[in-house]
Symmetry: D3
Subunit: 250 residues, 6 copies
Amino acid sequence: MPSLDELVAYANQRTRLDAYQDAPGARNGLQVANNGAVTKIGAAVDSGLVPFQRAVAAGVDFLIVHHGMYWDMPQLLTGPVYTRVKTLFDGNCALYSNHLPLDGHPEIGNNALLAKQLGLTPDRPFMETEGGAVGCSAPWSGSRDDLKTQLEAQYDRVVPITCGSTTPSRIAFCSGSGNSAMKELVKAGIDTLVTGELREEWFNFAQERGLNVFLCGHYATEVHAVQALAAELAAKFDLPWEFIRTENPL
Amino acid sequence: MPSLDELVAYANQRTRLDAYQDAPGARNGLQVANNGAVTKIGAAVDSGLVPFQRAVAAGVDFLIVHHGMYWDMPQLLTGPVYTRVKTLFDGNCALYSNHLPLDGHPEIGNNALLAKQLGLTPDRPFMETEGGAVGCSAPWSGSRDDLKTQLEAQYDRVVPITCGSTTPSRIAFCSGSGNSAMKELVKAGIDTLVTGELREEWFNFAQERGLNVFLCGHYATEVHAVQALAAELAAKFDLPWEFIRTENPL
Amino acid sequence: MPSLDELVAYANQRTRLDAYQDAPGARNGLQVANNGAVTKIGAAVDSGLVPFQRAVAAGVDFLIVHHGMYWDMPQLLTGPVYTRVKTLFDGNCALYSNHLPLDGHPEIGNNALLAKQLGLTPDRPFMETEGGAVGCSAPWSGSRDDLKTQLEAQYDRVVPITCGSTTPSRIAFCSGSGNSAMKELVKAGIDTLVTGELREEWFNFAQERGLNVFLCGHYATEVHAVQALAAELAAKFDLPWEFIRTENPL
Amino acid sequence: MPSLDELVAYANQRTRLDAYQDAPGARNGLQVANNGAVTKIGAAVDSGLVPFQRAVAAGVDFLIVHHGMYWDMPQLLTGPVYTRVKTLFDGNCALYSNHLPLDGHPEIGNNALLAKQLGLTPDRPFMETEGGAVGCSAPWSGSRDDLKTQLEAQYDRVVPITCGSTTPSRIAFCSGSGNSAMKELVKAGIDTLVTGELREEWFNFAQERGLNVFLCGHYATEVHAVQALAAELAAKFDLPWEFIRTENPL
Amino acid sequence: MPSLDELVAYANQRTRLDAYQDAPGARNGLQVANNGAVTKIGAAVDSGLVPFQRAVAAGVDFLIVHHGMYWDMPQLLTGPVYTRVKTLFDGNCALYSNHLPLDGHPEIGNNALLAKQLGLTPDRPFMETEGGAVGCSAPWSGSRDDLKTQLEAQYDRVVPITCGSTTPSRIAFCSGSGNSAMKELVKAGIDTLVTGELREEWFNFAQERGLNVFLCGHYATEVHAVQALAAELAAKFDLPWEFIRTENPL
Amino acid sequence: MPSLDELVAYANQRTRLDAYQDAPGARNGLQVANNGAVTKIGAAVDSGLVPFQRAVAAGVDFLIVHHGMYWDMPQLLTGPVYTRVKTLFDGNCALYSNHLPLDGHPEIGNNALLAKQLGLTPDRPFMETEGGAVGCSAPWSGSRDDLKTQLEAQYDRVVPITCGSTTPSRIAFCSGSGNSAMKELVKAGIDTLVTGELREEWFNFAQERGLNVFLCGHYATEVHAVQALAAELAAKFDLPWEFIRTENPL
């Protein structure tokens, strides 16, 4: 039976965890420990009472999440935070969080997998940071309508903003929130972006600069990497794994 | 023919413009002057090249917007900013921006009008600030399904998050972005919110705390107040007015 | 059986918890919840694995501490923090922290009780803040040697700094760290301080300004108030209570 | 007919625009665009209504200034800022600003040209920054009186501070404001400075440390570089150019 | 023989020293002590080696300055700072600094005395702060040329900026640096300012907004108040006093 | 007779003074000058009236201190600060301060000398900073009790915290305050620290992580390096030297 430390060490190294400078408050890596042994791996997008309950009910004792508990730091272990953490403690379930490193990973990252879902091979980094790129881009030989059709086949809620070329030659990918991707798009000379969500004010930016943006959902575009990492860990350490889905429509 | 100064003074006073502390960078009031006279009023949600072009094409020389040019401050009057400002200058079109004061106004504010659209009379302030409340709330006697049905009749893209009571007794309103409304909702003891958009992480917050949220679109929930202010100014100063619509799906 | 909420509410009100502006990072009040019921109260000076283990072993399920977990905020629930918090969770032991309000309380505060220990009745506030004084002072009719003798009878490790009057007319009290009390002493025109600990550089300050300071230990001067509050809660709610001692020599 | 982009690119590269870290708020480079073509170049020291009006009246459509509009950022395009910017837009006159890079340039910079005016060849950098030196210094073989006589022949308002050597061996140059040059002077072991203006408190500094300072006017010492750049661009792109003078006595 | 403490206490109270919020780093009041007794009062504008030497040579043991040693805080008592402070210590000369309170005093302040010099009686505060106004203004019935003539009769170096009315109806006074007065002038609806010095960029501001400014020298406009305070203290405490002049041309 | 400048230059270079980034406000090097010549060297731990008086009484005109006047910056030369500085000026006694560089020096630093006192040879740096290590560590072959016995033989007030191994294999040294050493200890995998003082909250840290700490006094652990530097300078420049002791018990 593999130890918690072994899984954490492998996952940290595999995703180049220390290379990335993440958002203020974000803490990649192990956030909650367990008794030190792992028997089943879970993968979820978000931290929260319901994903934790479902993970524990499924027998998971090592839960990988894309969004750790940093969005709402457990300053005081009271109220909903108490309940949430107690669920993990009582279920002996460790919590492992991995945000930007998992978005940007060239093999098991959300953006690499978004491209792969469309049959594409990314050949350029997008949204480069000191530690590595967060996104990627790939050539596109179809029309904009082809792209829309394929995305709508794979995602429930696609919001298209079609102010750019009808025959884009390249597509950039930015899973989750695309707010910081918009200016990068212009700098990179790419006119078409697949992302999760955008604040309202970016529509006019897209309209003024002639950009296409396809919003496929923040949650929906970030289910890929946690599953890939869980599957890889499961194979490596000979453990079962399971995806813990929630109904997040955002 | 009324002067630009008269319209600005009336609108500022009517909306208690100086009372509100708005977002950093936001500048409520006149943002771009014209030659000093006004012959036609326009109302738009956003600043941008297309709404400015449509306003000028419609003969508007006093354009009221909810989102001024502060989202992308014209630091340098070059590129798209040059084009956007030149459109206003060449069209002799003044730009008047009014954000939080227009959200919170008890008669012509977005939230008061959202409530009115559902046949409700707000009787409590919501999201209070030093200068005044931004939102409001009103008693509700129907079911949650009734509310959903009514909203879907009035808005194209309603995203329901239904983790709260099936028979809410009160509904809070927060036009545009609801991110800052979520914790206020809990403090106020209200379990149902009508708003425009939410970042992904608030879904788990709603789920943990048992809240209903109906997202009706940031743009879509903010078309009301600029129209109401334009109509009132038009009546007061005996001028024509027109709503300048764009296709913002966000 | 009283509820956790009742005890917390009583203790907060009794100590005027919200009035005080405490140190950055300090969070007075409930820091860790339990299952909602209380059967035995504990009082300790510090948070830490050993005081938590001893409290749980003693059957305590509501532990009052003077120093909450804010000195070393449980950012990640891993390593020693995991063990410490798990001890509380497994023992169903709530953690209630109360710092400056308990130093300054005129009846059950550390400084009032330090004065009482010497048979004195404080008649002036010392180290006043917006929310209330943290310390107090009382007239003294004996010699400085009398004071020294009495303190050495009550405390194991007294470090005397005797640069002031041999017959002080007034004594100021500041439990715990006295670093912020030294300049206040000069302002108040008092030349003798009883406190817990001082950083090295204040010796010269005392020497230049002719001040007496008796250091009786940070821990040792702060055992009083948590006991007083525990005893009062125990009487009020008809519960047993116990002091959880550790061997802190500082 | 050369394009605006060509002129900007040439001027940016020629002055190593990106190398310098300028004052907070300063924005070197193109600040206001025009229709994209240039037929006549202007050079002025300051931004302002009068220099803009005179430039437009002279047919200038590319105005080089040393002080861009950053001293009084056009936050709102209203009042005097509206008038000032509208003057440029209506006259199709682009505004190009270049501050520290033009002070420090070894051939066409203000300080190199100040030295040249005295028949000197600078051989050492002065006021070095990461991107390059802002000032320079040159050996001097005459007396301090010789220097004073020459400066008074070239500048209308020379204020001499003569607390240093009567036979300085080296002179430092810092066009415009000399406030940040005074401590640098001491560090560099030079006792004589030619600059534009100084705040009052530096007189005692000069007196205590035995320094000579000749204040020749901020405006007057900064007319040189914009003219040199304009002349060079004019020759390169075969365009006419003109200096746009104002009566700034400071 | 009056004590140092008596003079300091009188001067602090007379000038409402504690009411004003001065510049960061400025420390109004006693900056350097002496042996506690005063036999002769001096008044100077600036701190510095030469004014200190001249004061000590004149037998002054209480030197009032407008600009204390805060412009160049004696962090380390080495080099010129050592020499400067040693001069005071060896001469047993106390240093008393008084900045904004002495500018704004309605009877013995620099601005009140500037107005009086022109035969005017200030009837409105100018540049109001929480603690009191720094400047003042007075009605003017002559022409702008009359004003210029009178100022040139009293000050050696007057720099006129004459972009405003030729017959101003009111004059504002701001001794020393006028940089922070320019926007206040516009707010107060006054078009003519008498001040000491201005940075270069304000010329265009004056030109765009149609303002007159007469620069009479920072030092020269601040000799008045220190003399008035010294004379008043001398009379009150029956002591001799002397003005310690330096040759500051700024 | 050596000059002040020579001694300062030698001491600065010998201790690599410029390499260290010291605490905010700390100013290593010459803090108060004298007439430029040195006839006798003094060494003291602290700045203060009493050590300055004793140094002057002993004929010292170059006083080396570990704690300069930065702990209580002489903002205003009044009250106790006036008296303290006047003592130095009247005694023609220069003050030279050297903090972290003297803690960390591998030959004459406090930590190297603490180790030497126990007969140990440090072989690893401890508490490394960019400029160099502040502490050091050395192997230990005796028991914890041996260590305690030796320390108690050399220091008057040893406070032992014995939560670690009874047979430590390595000892880290951090003279003065050990607050910043505790987390470094864990990182370095060392379980025993010799230091001067600790704030109260570190006891639980030591208890949770199983660490031994011996507190020997802040003052007492910092008498070594100033003496070593003074002795070395005395030998080098053929001058007498003397240790200026005070009774600091902290």
